[in-house]
Symmetry: C2
Subunit: 153 residues, 2 copies
DNA sequence: TTCCCTGCAAACGGTTTGCACCCCA
DNA sequence: TGGGGTGCAAACCGTTTGCAGGGAA
């Protein structure tokens, strides 16, 4: 489901991943990256809440700086959410987002057929004077049953 | 180009539009709505800058409150921009957005063929447990020549 | 040992709020 | 004239910044 991200959350593999991106593997970076992988498009604040259980002395400022560093080095992306706050995403592959107005969750929507459809479309239609960095479909809605997951069929 | 919005900026027609949406037509609302129609997905701040020439005593708080009111009554929508701030849009028709990282502009991308392609796709693929409110394609990029417009060919 | 990273706290900037006054319907 | 709208200023809150001390390579 979540592609292009490691699914081995062991300390050593997280460390290796940081090293691969030329980042000094501090304890803080390791737990922040782990939280980023486990949580679903978290805000800095929600990574903070998750992490202070395991690293009580961590500061929110460090989370912001660290996420910023990860974005710059290509380990994560920063996306704006419909609620106005910024979220972080370790899924670096091309994919789309579903936003729920009720829960404020962002969920991935990955569909190869859809990607191809859009890619195909923009092979014909060109946008002049624009260097495209990213095209993504944004689906905004409301979960009907808040306790159930959203799923694609 | 910009569909579903009036293109008569006369005082009387702006007043009529507000009345149509059951809003008391104060001078502030009229000039705010005019600025919203003329500017390209403005922030509250940039409406403020534009307006203080014609209504010097207007307050930024009023702009926020007024835009909020317009969103509730269906005259406008509030969208989050990639830069993290909120923008307002009087174009109520289904359309897509291009965001430029350099100028922070949001530009409309309207293409009937694309709308149909997406609509068609979601007639086949269903998302369970979600009431879809809005589907839009978000194109992020950078203007190549900052002085030239982005155009579709 | 050397930088870079972290923690802390203050500052920042966009947005919201409370309240007295104002003005459209 | 009544009730909602406006202006002002303070508060709010997510995010950034500066700086002194700390820890990975």
């Amino acid at each position: 489901l979540r592609t292009n991200i490691i699914n081995d959350y062991s300390y050593t593999s997280l460390k290796a991943k940081l090293a691969e991106f030329k980042l000094k593997a501090t304890h803080q970076r390791i737990v922040i990256y782990e939280a980023l992988l486990k949580l679903n498009h978290p805000s800095a604040e929600s990574i903070f809440d998750q992490i202070k259980i395991v690293a009580p002395s961590i500061s929110l400022g460090t989370i912001y700086k660290t996420l910023d560093t990860m974005v710059i080095s290509g380990l994560a992306v920063k996306v704006s959410s419909e609620d106005g706050n910024m979220r972080y995403d370790a899924n670096m592959g091309s994919h789309n987002h579903i936003y729920c107005f009720n829960t404020k969750e962002i969920m991935d929507y990955e569909d190869e057929e859809l990607n191809q459809l859009i890619e195909e479309f923009f092979r014909k239609k060109h946008i002049e004077n624009l260097k495209i960095k990213d095209i993504r479909l944004q689906i905004n809605g409301e979960k009907i049953d808040l306790n159930k997951e959203v799923s694609i069929k």
